[in-house]
Amino acid sequence: MSRFATSVSRRATPGIPWLVRRILAGVLVLFLVSVLLFLVTQALPGDVARIILGKDATAEQVAGLRQRLGLDRPVVVQYWHWLSGVCTGELGNSLQNGEPVAGVIGPRMLNSFALGLISMVLILPLSVLIGVFTACHRDSVPDRVFVAVSSLFTALPTFVVGMLLIAFFATSALGVLPGVSNIPPGDLPWWHPAELVLPVTTLTLMGVLYLGRLVRASFIDAMNSEYVEMALLKGLGDRRVLFRHALPNAVAASLPAAGLVAAVTITGVVVVEYVYSYPGLGTGLVGAVNAHDLPVMQACVLILATAYYLFNVLADIFAVMGGSR
């Protein structure tokens, strides 16, 4: 049950040329993503300036905004201007406060990046550990509990998990951790470890319960495989069979899923940040959409989509490299 099943094509050994082609195709897709993003935000039928200003705006205000946004120029010129801005980091100014978008987004990006990275660093080893442990003790009590809990959590929306954690750890029940993770502007996220605990826990919990179960399944598959039977028939010891024969293959089989978990974590970041009021790209995006702050929104979406796509490509590459066995 992968959120995005990866298509594993049965090519003969895919080598470097294949990789180069895949990366070039990836660049092309990213370019098309930017086109789509631009078309949706700026060239959609209907007057963007009117949407931004609302129904009560005067014709002059609308005209003024159109000029400021460059909406009166041909679409291709607008796109070119926008794309070259993206490539040079000149993302325009926020409509809310007139500050450069790069300045608004930069710290938020760092915050989101820290949140995602810390979570991934925890998710990967924990998933392998739990997956292998439960697979080795199949049908034991810890295994059943893990499968049941994981089945519960994979169905739950992230915000529900976040809310439950707040209700348990940040309110009268225990009250040991801050339920709001506001990191003041100018501070780096790791200066506020207590504020990071709940958001990171939420993401890690979701990731480990999903990925750990996949690792468990592929480890069980590996243990049932003919090469493990062969290793036993060769007279190898349990430990060698487990760690040299089964584990590498199980981990290789889970790698595509790990890429996907990284991608899904990015979606999770948006919601988790909102739950804990954590100043990152996700809250930035929600705020920008609410305020019709077009340039900030474009930047947030582009960054999130690019990161998301890169992890998807990574998952694909792992899948094909692993699938060609």
Binding site: T13, L232, R244, H245, P248
Partner: protein, 590 residues
């Protein structure tokens, strides 16, 4: 010679049901000797092979028996000792090295890990072995992963791995199934040579009597988990006393002469299905009432073998004469019913077929023979009209046949029918047998439900499927039955030409025999047939003319008897030389 290997009373039981997969198997084997274990699918031969290493798959347990190798009873050892004896005392070569070799470990690691030696020392020890099995031994080769090897290389690597620790007994489980005959011949030669050179006993499990005849000194025949006959290879193969062994021999086609194949009626028993009497009784032509009540013991028979049959004396007294075949009239001067001229085909830009041409006379069976990679699969796809990159001229009854099936007219599509290789994929698993037959009837003849059901039943009758099976789904049928249904589906179209793509190669030999005889009877009804196969014995058995395909080119063609008896091309000669034969099969009486 002192017995190196003594096996007695080995029994493997299914834990859930308590029924035995392998019952009370025993034999002895001297140094350097090879024991061939023969049986069809479900006979318990693979389970026995694993049990000889003290191993049982999930759900099964070794419940009794001794496996003494070089003085040590493996089955009495504690788990830890047993582990250490595996590899060093007794080693295993798997059926399918493609899945049994670990895809993520280098060849060097897999070769040396069982040796319990420092890596450098271990490597210097396996290098000569690599040379012995005909693989390169340089560092670059050793760093490869198994997927970078061909099937034959993988199998030779598995053999080298097995003998690395110098075992006294090596167990090979169908090691050449799925390999081309020439590769198979090399692997068999290798096994024989290694056993001789290392003075090592071997147990060679196979479904193929000819392979066993080639490699083994002793033969054990298994049926329903039991040994039904055992003896020296000559005795078992030429003077068999058990009806099953004799029936099996009568079902094997021969590449050197043409004879009718005799299928074994009925089907093999499943685990725990046999009653009180002899397991083979329901299918035996010598059966008497006593057979159904008494379970026979494995006792010395009249012809020098040990046999598990109450009526061995009578059985041996019956001469083994394969039924004669009525000679076919020589192909008349009629124009070809189907012809291929200048067929070229490519796959992904790489040319696979080069200028392939042949013609098929009416009522004749033409065999196209080739090993894997010869292009025969691509060729049959071209004939079916499902291969895009092709050019050349196909003609049916003098009319040109377009390359794509979609552009062929309905009459041609109806009259040229196909039976595919894989009995598990050739029928829609979600349709009943009858409904699979009604689809073409409705498509070509527009018949109603009642008429369709009637014609479907007639066709099923023709291929020997009782009409009570008409409502079944393919999953409820055996492989042979599915192929019969696939033939019936072709027959309801009232075809003039039947193209069979390896239609019998995935089946047990006794099932193959019945299918070959079915096809032969269809030929007698006047159907023309194009038979694509890798198996020269099947070709000899059924084909009138033969086309030999090698690397996408026709290297030789002509009357089957001429080509197979007096091959002109070196490739055909090498193919024939590598094709194994059960020795001493009696000549048909003409």
């Amino acid at each position: 010679m002192a017995a190196e290997v003594e096996v007695s009373g080995v029994t493997v039981t299914v834990e859930a049901t308590g029924s035995d997969i392998v019952k009370d198997v025993g034999f002895t084997l001297g140094r350097g000797e090879v024991m061939g274990v023969v049986g069809e699918s479900g006979s318990g031969k693979s389970t026995l092979a694993l049990a000889l290493l003290g191993f049982a798959r999930k759900g099964a347990t070794i419940t009794a028996g001794r496996v003494v190798v070089d003085g040590v009873d493996l089955l009495s050892l504690p788990e830890g000792r047993l582990r250490r004896e595996r590899g060093s005392r007794v080693a295993y070569v798997p059926q399918d090295p493609a899945t049994a070799l670990n895809p993520s470990l280098s060849l060097a690691t897999q070769l040396t890990e069982g040796l319990r030696l420092p890596r450098r020392e271990a490597l210097s020890r396996v290098r000569p072995l690599l040379e012995a099995v005909g693989l390169p031994d340089d560092g670059a080769f050793l760093r490869r992963r198994p997927r970078q090897l061909s099937g034959g290389q993988q199998q030779r690597l598995a053999i080298a791995t097995a003998i690395a620790a110098g075992p006294r007994l090596i167990v090979l489980d169908e090691p050449t199934t799925g390999l081309d005959v020439s590769t198979q011949a090399r692997v068999l030669e290798l096994v024989r040579g290694l056993c001789r050179a290392h003075d090592m006993a071997a147990i060679y499990v196979s479904h193929d009597l000819a392979v066993v005849a080639d490699v083994a000194d002793h033969v054990t025949v298994m049926y329903g988990g039991e040994v039904v006959e055992r003896g020296t290879d000559r005795d078992v193969l030429t003077r068999a006393a058990h009806p099953y062994t004799r029936a099996l021999l009568a079902a094997v086609p021969s590449a050197t002469h043409r004879h009718a194949l005799v299928p074994i009626p009925g089907r093999a028993p499943g685990v725990g299905e046999s009653g009180r009497g002899c397991g083979f009784a329901p299918r035996c032509e010598h059966v008497v009432t006593a057979c159904e009540r008494t379970r026979p013991e494995l006792v010395p028979g009249p012809s020098g073998t040990l046999t598990r049959c109450l009526r061995a004396d009578e059985v041996v007294g019956t001469p083994r004469i394969p039924p004669r075949l009525t000679a076919k009239p020589a192909a008349s001067g009629e124009p070809d019913v189907f012809s291929v001229a200048g067929l070229n085909a490519a796959h992904g830009g790489r040319q696979i077929l080069f200028d392939v041409s042949f013609g098929l006379a009416r009522g004749e069976c033409l065999a196209v023979v080739g090993e894997s990679g010869s292009g025969k699969t691509t060729m049959s796809r071209c004939l079916v009209g499902l291969h895009e990159e092709q050019d050349g001229t196909l003609a049916f009854e003098g009319r040109p046949v377009p390359a794509a099936a979609a552009r062929r007219d309905n009459e041609i599509r109806r009259q040229v029918q196909y039976v595919f290789q894989n009995p598990y994929g050739s029928l829609n698993p979600h349709r009943s047998v009858e409904s699979s037959l009604i689809v073409p009837l409705r498509h070509y003849f527009g018949v109603g439900a009642r008429e369709g059901a009637k014609r479907a039943r007639e066709a099923l009758e023709r291929v020997g499927i009782p009409s009570r099976l008409a409502g079944r789904h393919p999953a409820e049928l055996s492989g042979g039955q599915r192929q019969r249904v696939a033939i019936a589906r072709a027959l309801v179209c009232e075809p003039k030409l039947l193209i069979c793509d390896e239609a019998t190669s995935a089946l047990d030999v006794s099932v193959q025999a019945s299918l070959v005889e079915l096809l032969r009877s269809l030929l007698a009804d006047g159907l023309s047939m194009l038979f694509v196969t890798h198996d020269l014995a099947v070709v000899r058995s059924i084909a009138d003319t033969v086309v030999v395909l090698s690397r996408g080119r026709v290297v030789e063609s002509g009357a089957a008897d001429d080509v197979l008896s007096r091959p002109a091309h070196s490739y055909t000669r090498s193919l024939l030389a590598a094709t194994l034969e059960v020795p001493g099969a009696p000549e048909p009486v003409v």
